[in-house]
Symmetry: C2
Subunit: 410 residues, 2 copies
Amino acid sequence: MAEEKLPTRAEDFSEWYNQLVLKAQLADYAPVRGCMIVRPYGWALWENIQAALDKRFKATGHQNVAFPLLIPKSFIEKEKHHVEGFSPELAVVTIGGGEELAEPLILRPTSETIIGHMWSKWIQSYRDLPVLMNQWNSVIRWELRTKLFLRTLEFYWQEGHTAHATRQEAVDETLQMLNVYTDFAVNEAAIPVIPGVKSDAEKFAGADTTYSLEAMMGDQKALQFCTSHFLGQNFAQAFEVKYLDQTGVLQHCWTTSWGLSTRVIGAIIMVHGDDQGLIMPPRIAPIQVVIVPIYKTDEEKASVQKTAKDLKAQLVKANLRVHLDEREGFSPGWKFNDWEMRGVPPKMSPSNQPCWPGAIVPAGKAKSAPRWPTSQPQSKNCLWEFTSRSSTRPWPSGAPTLKRPPPMTS
Amino acid sequence: MAEEKLPTRAEDFSEWYNQLVLKAQLADYAPVRGCMIVRPYGWALWENIQAALDKRFKATGHQNVAFPLLIPKSFIEKEKHHVEGFSPELAVVTIGGGEELAEPLILRPTSETIIGHMWSKWIQSYRDLPVLMNQWNSVIRWELRTKLFLRTLEFYWQEGHTAHATRQEAVDETLQMLNVYTDFAVNEAAIPVIPGVKSDAEKFAGADTTYSLEAMMGDQKALQFCTSHFLGQNFAQAFEVKYLDQTGVLQHCWTTSWGLSTRVIGAIIMVHGDDQGLIMPPRIAPIQVVIVPIYKTDEEKASVQKTAKDLKAQLVKANLRVHLDEREGFSPGWKFNDWEMRGVPPKMSPSNQPCWPGAIVPAGKAKSAPRWPTSQPQSKNCLWEFTSRSSTRPWPSGAPTLKRPPPMTS
């Protein structure tokens, strides 16, 4: 793995990215064009992203649900802009159980339509509002030019969907979720982001206003980090999502939707990575500390392995995600290069050398870096501090949170 | 909701089940025949099931991954028994991005084939084994007779997939996972299960041996709780999953797969439920304690609400999943009936009555049950104890864990 050198970012940023995703075993190409397989190291990162976001969604009152993958084709045609935007990207099921279907089914490209359909049954009164939902799933969009994590036919994401009694409440929700994403970007992914409003040509098909966070990648290009849509009454009118207000008058709801996808993994690679490989943001890193035992003789091996296991137990106890690399047939140097390429924040190497029992090798550039002994590897604070010091980019101290709503475009 | 009475189980068990799933808002029928929407209360239960299983899978060394939904149709045809078993149940995508596809794609009914295909690329040497993977996703099987949670066209599950160097290792894995499921069934879902081997006619299409756990429902009928398959070398041969052993000889791997689905929610309903409604197993209950404030005057309302909020904060601090029912326009009696139907283990009602500030009403049969005051509602142990005492079924104390592998059928 680590032997074949990556191209530098300056030589070919796009090829550096493609090779790194494969070499670090984050993902691989699936047999179906444009689809990807997310491998254990990539999925563990996604699970940490999910956990960090999910607790924020729940803290703001949202509940998770699951709407089906299969949607009647007629649903997509009910909202004028939605059908224009999504029709060219649809995958269509025409055969089920060996028989041609009377009405073709589409694979969800997003779930506004089926959710609108169900809300029209569930929502009757102002007492039923607001409805605050989110779901974690995958969606299918028939993209022509694809790239692992950044644009794939099937991708993983969350889609939040909310319904409100008033326009103001829905606008507030749209902006609240943009702030939740900002908090996640800065404090978990360590990525500075800039909020903004999409142009009419770029906004979500069916939205009144689309807000997004944009981040700058290592090649100085912008990448859309996530979006939050104020949908006005567009879907509520198309699907007759109505409620009786306190005065007994039937009103259409105001709705929102907001999403963040596995594309964020692409952003993490492109913002933090350097010519040696990945640099994982410590708080969501799949492996926060890797332990590489160093020994020469069999006698040394037994004692170093014991030290390594004890060290691991201490770090696990401190709630760190630790991996002990016990692979046989690979030299410590090879392992260090491998973990450097895979971006694990600190690497520790218990050995029989002077700095035994615990030597920490900083994340960046193993060869030139100092080693220093630590008698308290179990100290989480110390490790965190170390981690942020050793990162090639400083942990952002401020965040461009939205204090005031930007001007609405409608 | 709670006003319309359920049929009793004795009258019509099947209709009791259907109505209860809808009334308790666990799930609803989707617009596509045989598909379901899992609503917040049902999905929260599934998330707790997932968490309880996922930590057991990780503790036994498995890593989560994500393989795509779309599989080339030709893949399913590579294993003789697999194609025979699954062909009648397939959903087929024939159109993508507005164009007819050169090769139709199937929606995964299960992932052995695409995983076999990728393993043939990833696995080269004995050093790469064992491979221990799991994924949480949904699969599509074109079922004709469907019932919410028990049999749906799309259902949610986990599918574990492992590859091993020897037959014995794969057999051990198959049985280990059956034991993991047993531990979950007994200690989390509070459902006694019986392990067994499926007949040749009933086993998984492509397996050498299928083990299952069976549980007895409230109508005295058996339900398959989960399955664990020893796949022999069937898929390894069909997809050429081979490794170089220590002596330099090329060998086929031995593989397993094992799964547990949202059907388990059906089992929880049918095992624990009674004529009043659901009874949730406390450890995975979406809501473990509900607080229903009781007051008559506005003055009482303010003080009771404050007590209720304090109580909730105390219980949340004790890591309990607590819901404070502040709905306006519903009487406490109506709320008690509603939560009884939805099976929340203990219900607490702070009020200005003698047992103020904290009265616990047991889960079962509110009217005849004693109320007793507690000055320490924050005591988790006390609540758990109470919960298990108040359950209409005692918490199973023993478990039919597999001590020895049952005889293999091949």
